[in-house]
Symmetry: C2
Subunit: 150 residues, 2 copies
């Protein structure tokens, strides 16, 4: 394995919260992406499973939330179904709609991913003192609470 110069930062050098947010997003996504790859899961699949952890949405809701077209989601869910992680059932209130939810096996997979995700991010999160970790989490959650307006 040959060593060459390495790149040590990713965003514009002048700073700004937006830059820090985008850079940390790329770094975090890289970790999640790598974790997903270990299980042969695409980033969308990881996210799909994560969303279903505590919800039972219909297809259109899922597509909107994931930012995917409904046809694209059909394929993603079909693949997940084939793997045995999710199942579909007709919505009792609307004959046109289909609800999606995790199977027991899917639930197990999500739990495993969740645990491994925390572990994989530990080198980052662990760099902060406990009170800074709490402060960061609080600030991020406040930020996220505003995203309905975005």
């Amino acid at each position: 394995m040959q060593k060459h110069r390495s790149i040590n930062h990713a965003s514009a050098p002048d700073g700004g919260l937006a830059d820090a947010l985008v850079t940390s997003a790329f770094v975090t996504m890289a970790v999640v992406s790598r974790l997903g790859a270990e299980h042969d899961l695409s980033l969308s699949m990881v996210r799909l499973l994560g969303i279903l952890a505590d919800r039972r949405p219909r297809m259109t809701e899922l597509a909107d939330y994931l930012g995917l077209e409904k046809q694209t989601l059909s394929g993603l869910v079909a693949r997940a179904e084939k793997k045995g992680w999710v199942a579909r059932a007709p919505n009792p209130d609307d004959g046109r709609a289909t609800d999606v939810f995790l199977t027991p096996e899917g639930t197990k997979l999500v739990r495993r991913l969740h645990a491994q995700g925390r572990e994989a991010l530990a080198p980052l999160t662990g760099a902060l003192a406990p009170e800074d970790q709490q402060a960061l989490e609080r600030l991020l959650r406040r930020l996220l609470a505003a995203r309905a307006a975005a």
Copy 2:
């Protein structure tokens, strides 16, 4: 446009910094992704251009940093070159290596993206009081400083 129930959060409900980090990463990436799409740019292309904003790496460095295989990067750079945003030149010190850098047009595009990115994220960042914005940026940068170990 029909309204249906919407999903209001993306990660496990029990919290934890890792969850908040992943959720905010997905949300941030969605904003960046949408911005990129407006310019017909993939997420990888946005990131490539962003990295080149203040660097002139060789292909292998870029591939490592982006987490892409060198062949994949060849294609990405070729597409960017075709669009006139980047150029390649032989590395003066190593006859095997190729350096990549932004063209003037690429630089203009990156500046535009940067400005639009800040604007697109404003609904999120603006939800925090100025001192909280500073605190969040400081915490994120401290987190990122640790990622060499990850």
